[in-house]
């Protein structure tokens, strides 16, 4: 029913096999990447060092002295063909609110500082994203970015980074943007960036290439474990939903203070998510899951 074209396999360097499920992003490709890499991890194959699912692909690192690359590729290919039943994925997930201050002065300042690496140095990142997606009204853009939740399709980059892909929105309405021409050397912690069709909250100060559109009031990484929900240090879990809620400067400051004091509680709802139901009912199913949130 939900068939995908054949995965393309490629060797990279002497330690890697890259499996490209599709070049374009789709929820189906992402589910496939998750289920194949789960299966591979379960099999505990000697010689495999890392198993990294990504948005529409996965990457395997192996030790070529312990396992022949060609044998491993054939082995993975077989799993890839057999395990393509996407409807069987059911997950316990959390819907988490990310209070978001859009078009804030902090990220605006970074836009200016790194303007020389930008397609349109005269615009802020926020303006660039907004205009490029046909919006003239700031509030209409914020509404489009925040009305539906995002699901976590990939983690990595640096610990705590989660790629958010908007769910329950027709493809033509998903906001998209080009990445920086050359990565920034600095991005503030909790900045919200957009690149391609993905939104990320930068977990800590780091390099970055996504266009900055706002600040999250809440951390997604905290090695000090000030908040109960960050006992695992990292907030993101693959499959979870994150919902951005627009806030103003006053509320932003209030929440940042609460986080500082350790009194902040994330707004969370736990639900069971079925990929089958989503692929069948789309937005209607997401609206059901989001009820009361």
């Amino acid at each position: 029913m939900f068939t995908l074209p054949e995965t393309r396999f490629d060797f990279v360097g002497d330690e890697y096999i890259y499996a490209e499920i599709s070049r374009e992003m789709s929820i189906e490709s992402n589910y496939k990447a998750i289920s194949i890499t789960n299966e591979l991890r379960k099999r505990n194959i000697p010689g495999i060092i890392d198993i990294c699912p990504a948005n529409a692909s996965y990457l395997i690192r192996y030790n070529p002295e312990k396992i022949a690359g060609q044998d491993l590729k054939d082995y993975i290919q077989e799993i890839d063909i057999k395990k393509s039943n996407l409807s069987e994925l059911t997950m316990q997930i959390r819907i988490i609110e990310i209070p978001t201050w859009y078009d804030d002065p902090i990220t605006r300042e970074y836009s200016l500082q790194f303007a020389d690496r930008h397609q349109h140095p005269e615009m802020t990142d926020f303006e660039f994203v907004m205009r490029g997606n046909g919006f003239t009204d700031k509030n209409a853009f914020i509404e489009a970015h925040s009305s539906m939740p995002y699901f976590i399709s990939m983690v990595g980059f640096i610990p705590g980074t989660a790629w958010e892909f908007q769910i329950g929105v027709p493809r033509e309405n998903i906001i998209q943007v080009a990445k920086y021409l050359s990565p920034r050397t600095k991005t503030p912690a909790r900045a919200i960036g957009l690149g391609g069709a993905f939104t990320v909250v930068y977990p800590m100060e780091s390099s970055g290439s996504y266009q900055l559109i706002g600040m999250s009031a809440v951390p997604v990484y905290d090695e000090k474990r000030r908040l109960a929900e960050l006992n695992d240090v990292v907030l993101a879990r693959p499959g979870d939903f994150w919902k951005h809620r627009p806030i103003d400067e006053r509320e932003y400051q209030r929440i940042v203070d609460e986080v500082e004091r350790g009194t902040y509680r994330y707004r969370i709802k736990e639900v069971e998510f079925s990929s089958e139901k989503y692929l069948l009912y789309g937005k209607e199913y997401i609206d059901d899951l989001m009820e009361g949130f």
Partner: protein, 324 residues
Amino acid sequence: MLKILEPGILTTVQDLGRNGYYHLGIPPSGAADQYSFQLGNLLLGNPIDYAGLEITLLGPKIEFMKRTVFNLTGAPVEAFLNNQPLSMWENIEARRGDVLSFKFAKKGVRTYLCISGGIQVPKVMDSRSTFTTCELGGHRGRKLIAGDLLEIGEPLPGVLKQVGRRVNKEFIPEFKKKIDVRVVLGMISYSLSDEGVRSFLNGEWKVAVESSRLAYRLKGPSLHYENVETPFGAGSGFSNVVDTAYPLGGIMITNSEELIVLLNDATTGGGFMTIGAVISSDLDVIAQSRPDTMVRFMAVTVQQAVQERINKKEKLLKFAEMLK
């Protein structure tokens, strides 16, 4: 114990690195020039995964708080014990109160200090390597600062008899201003046109100042690319892809005149196209190249890459054998 009197530019505790956490965004870290680092441990008779110090360009000033044996490998540098010049690639005895100091490195970037019994910081996720980006491992997750005290292991039995022992010249790597780096092309190289691949391989690439343990940036000839519409979700820049995991040594094109090579403290994924990876045995060479070094990339097959890897490993084994 080692007492850090002056920290140098960037001195960190490193071992061979931590594996198995890459999918969570945690790269291996570890000595960026694994070959030089391993020679240092082997010469001392340490297990090769014992932790040492990675010293960057300008070394620290260190006081030894107990008698032990150490050596210096990697980037050539003038070093002194109590202001007396000492040789690199040789086991040196340090007595309690001796002070080790450095001048600015002449060539290369990273010099290693290995010490009998290893540096004894606690292991984090099976490794003592420092990952400064998220303050993980090493000594308090950060580069060393003045006043730091580092626990060191007891000198291993018999190590004093190894003082004066040297690494033979045939095993010592060269540190050049022009380097050849071998790559296996693949992954998303299809987005480059044939002409683009040719200019990547024929051109000379210059190491930029913004290069670090995380990634090297290189500037070079303009790369021709296939002018196809980027896939949904990628973003509209020609180098934009739907975000993938990044291989270590991965060569990413960010714009048509810049590329990035990921090293030990890599970001583990992102949305620029990867056109291949530097073979694992040449990563040491990249990590030792300074800004303005000229780099040429040479395409090899996976089989050749694996053979090179085995050759380098056998060289280390041969060295270990000679010490017996």
